[in-house]
């Protein structure tokens, strides 16, 4: 046990973990956070807070993390390399640690071309590998990235990283995961899994590399809300692999419901989206080495309770 966060305890005790996600608001309103937190509380072991996801300016991950702690939830803050140099990152993390935040997910970050400020300066002082190593050294060596010793309490995080089993080159992905583990990653949250066989192949390769008992891998899952969303993810989102079968199921879900019955169609899509998510969770749970799921119900936090109930993940273990 490195840090003693709830997520770390759940994983170390051998329970199948369930983490959630909260996208902060594009304004200074704390009510949005409270509403989403309410929907997630009790349904997951920890809640990820994205860091200006897709380079769109949102309330910062750490500030929302503090709000969640005050509301009785455990946050997993996220930190990308896109917007902050090593000085700002270490500075923000000293503050986060001072507030008692314990889980941290390290990412390279989506390029700013995706967001609402493509004209901004591109930082990338570090990459996710350098970020992992820096955070590990802050905790275990009690040293800043420059090598200077930290006098007094050093920030200590349960260190997470992302993995995309579906990106190219496919054969290199398990090796890149091995590098992240060597650099300091202790838990992994993957990109959303729809292509279960391909994910299984990735996990088998990770097993060959001896990674499965070195790091806790949580499979990313997400309930699709509409057929349009399914098609968008299949065609437009980099690094996402959505099998044709699921796109078709979403399209078929509204067969027989007239176009004017918007409420009916919405309900049908949402029901099927949750069905697919539940199935994916049940299937990935059978893959050796999968220690939990990371449920990304973006702007649909309401769906999380049903998902965890139907997959036997509710109530969450008290550790």
């Amino acid at each position: 046990m490195k840090v003693g966060s709830n997520l770390e305890k759940v994983l170390t005790a051998g329970y199948f973990a369930a983490t959630g996600e909260l996208g902060p608001p594009k304004n200074a309103d704390p009510e949005v956070v409270r509403r989403k937190a309410d929907l997630l509380k009790g349904n997951v072991d920890a809640v990820n807070i994205t860091d200006n996801q897709t380079a769109v300016v949102r309330m910062s991950s750490i500030s929302v993390g503090i709000m969640l702690m005050n509301l009785g939830l455990e946050p997993t803050i996220q930190m990308t390399c896109r917007d902050r140099n090593r000085i700002a990152i270490q500075s923000d993390l000293l503050g986060a640690a001072a507030f008692g935040i314990k889980n941290l997910l390290c990412l390279s970050g989506d390029h700013q071309v995706f967001g609402n400020h493509p004209m901004s300066k591109n930082v990338f002082d570090l990459d996710s590998m350098g970020l992992l190593r820096m955070i590990k050294d802050l905790r275990d060596e009690k040293k800043f990235q420059c090598g200077e010793e930290i006098k007094g309490p050093a920030p200590a995080f349960f260190i997470g990283a992302a993995a995309n089993p579906f990106a190219d080159p496919f054969e290199f992905r398990p090796y890149r995961l091995a590098k992240k583990v060597a650099a300091g990653a202790e838990f992994i949250q993957t990109q959303i899994v729809f292509n279960v066989p391909k994910f299984r192949e990735f996990m088998e390769r990770c097993g060959d590399l001896g990674l499965l008992d070195k790091v806790h891998i949580l499979a990313g899952v997400s309930p699709i809300r509409t057929a349009g969303a399914a098609k968008y993810m299949a065609a437009q989102v980099p690094g996402m692999d959505v099998p044709e079968e699921y796109v078709r199921r979403m399209e078929d879900a509204v067969k027989g419901i007239p176009k004017e019955d918007k409420a009916g169609r919405k309900a049908a899509w949402e029901a099927e989206g949750v069905n697919i998510c539940v199935e994916v969770i049940q299937r990935v749970r059978e893959i050796p080495g999968v220690k939990g799921v990371h449920i990304m119900a973006i702007e649909w936090e309401e769906s999380v309770h049903e998902i965890v109930k139907r997959t036997g993940l509710y109530p969450r273990p008290q550790v």
């Binding site: 990459d127 590998m129 992302a162 690094g239």
Partner: protein
Amino acid sequence: MIVAEQKSLEEIKKLLAPYEKVLIVGCGTCVTVCFAGGEKEVSILASALRMATGLEGKPKQILEATVQRQCEYEYNEAVADKLKEVDVVLSLACGIGVQTMNEQFKQIATLPGLNTTFLGQPTEQGVWAERCQACGDCVLATTGGICPIARCSKSLLNGPCGGSQNGKCEINPEVTCAWNEIYDRMKALGRLQEMLEVTPSKDWRTSRDGGPRKIIREDLRLTK
């Protein structure tokens, strides 16, 4: 080589608006090779400006010249005489040439007619691509000769990131994923093992991040 592109005619006209007599000075080196500011481009731009300003009823007087290399005083001396005849100089050299002219001939303003863009390679006729970021600490030996600083959109040292798909970068399907290229090259060279080591974070001091750079070679200086 340095790669640059001409500013739009609109922008150039705006820059030249306060002036009547203009000397356009091209450069015979990099900008000639990328067809942005050589002798021919100077001539074409001069004609375009004469026509455009003529049509607007306020014809400007445009003189033309091209020097071998606009970043060196000795070559720019060739245009010194012409400066008396004009109100402003429009340089079609890279930003270095523009600055050299301003420094060398303080009595007159030299304005940029180009946008200096990057250090790159002519990959095929009519196409230039960025290759080097002049980071001051070359790592090409470790990446199979493909630069991750210049050619990876995130300048990763331990790529590829999760946005690499079919050998392309997440930002644009026209952009090649540098790390995919590096992976393929290291594989072909039988050096894939090296990609398993975590490359430590870069010291950016040797790059522009450390401040404007200068190299002094005492062994080559004439004055001490």
